[in-house]
Symmetry: C2
Subunit: 170 residues, 2 copies
């Protein structure tokens, strides 16, 4: 599988990974949500090479995740602003941060806290079912093919070689 093909895979995860699934892109997006907008801002905040930064920004604009907007004439200068498509990445960012907060903090605790303006409290993000509102856990979810599926053979429980031999013998 080549990287260009990823975006054509019949899998929403593969397609998304094709767009945002590399390390610098994710960090650039973090900066966007922290209100960084300009080339130099990204560069100094991240220490990314200018070459790669330019390339990643171009890609994000092509993908419709950032919009490149002029903020001054002569010399022409542009800012990079999240589109709605980009803002919709927020749950991914929060899910990533939350996992890090749970499993990667050192003894000093969380680097950042998130306050919900509506209720005023520091919170954690919780993922719930859109239909019943209950928190989701992996084993309560059954995945099945949708209209855009190509094929997804059901996997049977793995057998040991000996078990296979036994069942063939029977």
């Amino acid at each position: 599988m080549k990287w260009k093909e990823l975006e054509e895979e019949p899998c929403s995860m593969a397609r998304t990974i094709g767009v945002i699934g590399d390390r610098w892109t994710l960090l650039i997006l973090r900066e966007c949500f922290l209100r960084t907008r300009r080339f130099e801002g990204f560069q100094s905040a991240l220490g990314i090479t200018r070459h790669l930064l330019a390339e990643r920004l171009k890609k994000l604009v092509r993908q419709g995740i950032l919009r490149r907007i002029p903020y001054q004439e002569s010399p022409k200068r542009h800012e990079y602003i999240l589109t709605q498509k980009g803002i919709d990445l927020y749950p991914i960012m929060m899910a990533i941060v939350h996992w890090g907060d749970t499993h990667m903090v050192d003894e000093r605790g969380r680097p950042l806290l998130h306050q919900h303006r509506k209720c005023g409290k520091d919170f954690d993000p919780v993922m719930v079912c859109s239909e019943c509102g209950e928190p989701l856990s992996a084993k309560e979810v059954h995945t099945h093919p949708g209209p855009g599926a190509r094929s997804l053979p059901e996997k049977s429980a793995p057998e040991t070689r000996k078990a296979k031999a036994r069942s063939r013998a029977a």
Copy 2:
């Protein structure tokens, strides 16, 4: 910033990205959630080179995301099973899939649907506030330094050069 340093950054997102933020790792984890457990299973499902697969699996085991469990003796064979730390990645996976379902589907529709066993319906994941239960949106969240912060200077609103000149002149 080098990749080894990522995991020591005072940012839960950078640390998490250091662990799972590359394309193959994310796809391997997708397969784990679809119940793939064995080397050949990952390899044939993903088309990843055997070399990289071996390396990524080792890393995931080192990080405590997968556990390597023997399922037969002679020749010794192992399966890779998600630990709790690995299972906790589920919201990240679902958030990624959901963004793809929203922004990357073709005319045929979603490749996969997710059914919630508790309520029986196909659902979308929704991220809510742990404190008040309301759905979260980026602009209702205020980010501020926590106990593990190193420093996070507040960013002022960007100015144009002309505006800067004006304010200096004033």
